[in-house]
Amino acid sequence: MHELSIAHSLAELAVEAAEFSGIKQVKALYLKLGVLSGVVKEALEFSFDVVVQGTSLEGAKLIIEDVPVTVFCPSCQETRILPEPFPMRCPVCGTKTGQVLAGREMELYALEGGEENARADLESSNC
């Protein structure tokens, strides 16, 4: 259950980013998780809800985008997206390849603030 540690890191990062962006209450966090990241989504969601209590992230939703494995095929000399992470072979020619270009990421991609922040944004952009 390393998702608890990951949730801690995520919360820390998001709270800092929210402060930096002037977001008082975060409504949603957008994540990109590679299918090779080794993170179990349900465990992360559960841990996240626990660690964000009392912070500006409390009640925020995790919106998770799965990133498939992208490899470089040495035979085709092309990047290929694998339909399934394993076996690691080119889906076109079948050549085995361990050159992973994407699919390991664990990224906080964006933050969404609540309504009050939107109004604040609009007001500030009117200045």
Binding site: H2, M88, A110, E112
Partner: protein, 230 residues
């Protein structure tokens, strides 16, 4: 230049969630490189034989190099005590409830060590084939261990850690026949999830393969320091 988003309430962040760990791991890697320490991170399930193999490797390698080890467990100093029998400098990291080692634990534990006096540092991770995969510890290579009694499909069951490893070591190879170990199936499983992964077979009991693995680590170390000094 700021990218346009449809929803004004959405702010792009694009940061790695484990940024702190990864930054710390990068710093560690620099420190290791500067001091000339070659670092090997050993991962496996409990009981694969990490401590037994490591005690043997520290004993043999310790005759020619200055060797040290950090060992992670949830509780007890037992493994550190076993490893110390090799004469190496060893420190236990007790993680409490944490199922893996993180860069911060390594940095904290090494704080008062003089890295200049170490050639090889082995990190024996917590016995777990899932969680250690996500944490960079600043190591030069990650080695995943499997014993012949674990079943040939284990690499496919725990693909993430195998995929993050640089080499695989198959332990207790002296028991291969008794355990009905099917070598080809196991190799195929490893190659499905990490094509081209380097594989070593070892037995501490008979000594088979141990010196070969050590020679390989020595070669890796000199190749690394040669390439990094250019």
């Amino acid at each position: 230049m700021q990218e346009l988003t449809l929803n004004p309430r959405i702010v792009e962040i694009r940061q790695n969630i484990l940024k702190k760990n990864d930054l710390l791991a990068r710093e560690l890697r620099k420190r290791f490189q500067k001091a000339g320490v070659y670092v090997v991170n050993l991962v496996s399930s409990p009981g694969a034989g990490k401590t037994t193999l490591l005690t043997e490797v520290l004993t043999r390698l310790g005759k020619r190099y200055r060797v040290a080890a950090l060992v992670g467990d949830l509780a007890t100093e037992n493994d550190a005590d076993r490893l110390r029998q090799s004469g190496a400098k060893v420190r236990q990291i007790t993680t409490g409830t944490v199922c893996h080692l993180e860069a911060e634990m390594i940095a904290r534990t090494l704080q008062d060590w003089d890295l200049e006096k170490i050639d090889f540092l082995f990190i024996e991770n917590v016995g777990n084939l899932v969680c250690p995969a996500s944490y960079d510890l600043g190591e030069n290579q990650r080695v995943v261990l499997f014993s012949v009694t674990e079943g040939e499909d284990k690499p496919v069951k725990y693909p993430t850690i195998v995929n993050s490893a640089d080499a695989a070591v198959i332990t207790k190879i002296d028991l291969a026949e008794a355990a009905g170990f099917q070598r080809e199936r196991f190799y195929e499983a490893l190659n499905q999830v990490r094509p081209g992964i380097r594989i070593h077979e070892v037995s501490v009991r008979t000594g088979e393969g141990v010196d070969e693995w050590i020679s390989r680590l020595e070669a890796d170390k000199s190749a690394f320091h040669m390439s990094s000094s250019v």
